[in-house]
Symmetry: C2
Subunit: 316 residues, 2 copies
């Protein structure tokens, strides 16, 4: 049995090639540089076994899914991924093989997105808890935020939504099955497509953006409230997935698209002159930003109020 220090060194100390990383894993703290003219965008994201993912899922899928979900917040800000920290709380009986598999999945995903593991903490815990703190660079003052949607903006989605939610039942039915990337709905659940490249292209094009983690309508209300506008969606234009429609039918697929949270597509608003450019980026125009009347709803569907229970995932 390796000691804690040996185990961490063995699993989480792969070479990093990034000149802004001055010191990574192995000291009391990491040291990074932020190049002149840039700001550092950061987010922290926790996933708990059997709450955010099935505890018996393959460790490498758990790891890389957690990293994809976390860096989705960087995409939503228009940032280029730079580095991340891992806080991993493990049940006492965790095997070295599990940890090695987790490490493999994490590293493959980190290399895909060119993000460096620069620090971490491994602890014992009753439950498996994966916390990732991710960070990226954005030109100073250019980050995409939630508070700059303007009346008259088009509302856009970066891709089909509801796919991951449609996959959930199947994933939970056989959680321990290893899933290949691009192999159908289950792969939508395990490999959410963090919109890192699109996010950076939206800088200077979009007025506001976020990633959808708790459901389209609920997350839309965050932009609406921060910008003090109303987001009016067109149900007919919400891009559902053919696979989800085939599995659940059109009505349920739409419901999953409106309230399912795990696709990590971007929701953003942009002025009408950006329309053609956004179409060329394969985005979906799904509604309009309107003036909000006092005490009225933040989010509408075809101009109508949406029932509260249809809004999305509540964490408690």
């Amino acid at each position: 049995m390796l000691t804690e220090f040996e185990l961490i060194k063995h699993c989480f100390n792969w070479p990093q090639n990034n000149e802004t990383i001055i010191c990574a894993v192995g000291d009391d703290a990491s040291i990074v540089e932020v190049p002149r003219g840039y700001q550092l965008v950061q987010s922290i994201d926790t996933q708990v076994a059997d709450i955010h993912f099935p505890a018996t899922a393959p460790a490498q899928l758990i790891a890389q899914r957690a990293l994809r979900c976390a860096i989705s917040d960087l995409a939503a800000m228009g940032a280029k991924p730079q580095a991340f920290h891992l806080a991993l709380s493990l049940p006492k009986n965790t095997s070295q093989a599990w940890l090695e598999s987790f490490s493999l999945g994490l590293r493959a995903c980190a290399e895909e997105f060119n993000i460096s593991l620069i620090g971490g903490d491994t602890t014992s815990s009753p439950a498996l808890v994966v916390t990732l703190q991710v960070q990226g660079l954005v030109s100073a003052g250019k980050a995409l935020t939630r508070d700059k949607a303007q009346v008259g903006d088009d509302i856009w989605l970066s891709g089909e939504i509801g796919r991951s939610a449609a996959a959930l039942e199947g994933v939970l039915a056989s959680p321990e099955t290893f899933v290949e990337k691009d192999s159908g709905l289950a792969s939508d659940y395990f490999y959410p497509q963090a919109q890192i490249n699109l996010g950076q292209k939206l800088v200077g094009l979009a007025h506001s953006a976020l990633d959808i983690s708790d459901g389209l309508l609920q997350d839309a209300s965050h932009i609406a409230k921060a910008s003090n506008v109303c987001l009016n969606f067109s149900a007919a234009h919400i891009p559902t997935s053919e696979l989800a429609v085939a599995l659940c039918g059109q009505a349920e697929a739409l419901q999953l698209a409106l309230t399912g949270g795990d696709d990590y597509q971007l929701l953003f608003t942009a002025p009408q002159q950006a329309h053609n450019e956004l179409k060329d980026l394969n985005c979906y125009h799904v509604g309009q930003v309107e003036e909000r009347k006092a005490h009225s709803e933040w989010v509408l569907l075809d101009g109508q109020t949406v029932s509260h229970k249809s809004m999305g995932y509540q964490h408690f």
Copy 2:
């Protein structure tokens, strides 16, 4: 019952006064600036209920102790605290009152150390898990690391050690008791004195440093290995606490000082010409950095090998 978003806003959205914080809690991610000529030092630290602290301890003590422990890593690098992220995993039955108490303790400590809460994630979990990602600024290239101890350096401690370990039995006997700061041994456990001011003063004075979290001898081996030297301690000069000696006797107090982990004092090495200045800073000269002979020990006590089980805390 407040929704998740209302609860977070209520408890964790206090005003921040720091011009390097461009965007804090409330968007997909935070945005910070790193002033020209500085680097960002970062660390992540997890504490799990009934592993790192008693689950029934007062919430405000749990919160502020976790933050003190986390920023100790910034002290060890010589950094000035700037900002932190909180990932909080809570059992389902957590009350709003508990969360408000936690928030009070966290805020008081954050204000004491002038560090801004800039982001977080709150999740449900079988166990209470507190992860803090902390960050601070250091002049570029000046951070204190573990790998620059030199043969001939004096070894120093920033203060008495073993106090928190001596307090542990009493803390565990009545974990729910609220403890005031500076009220004896139990307060050493709940209010570890992160050496933030001293750490910054050591920049340019010390060659290497770390904070003691897993026990003096075990942590000393990290400096020894990173610098490829031997750290030889003088048992008679290890500063034990009078309170610990009174409680446990001299021999046990020394043992706790060598292996107890929770004081968060700094261990550092410095050239002999810094001796008077470090004495004036009330530091303790506790040994010498020596050449390490091939295949010999990394750490010695009065020139002798230390038995493996006396080395310190193993996390697994």
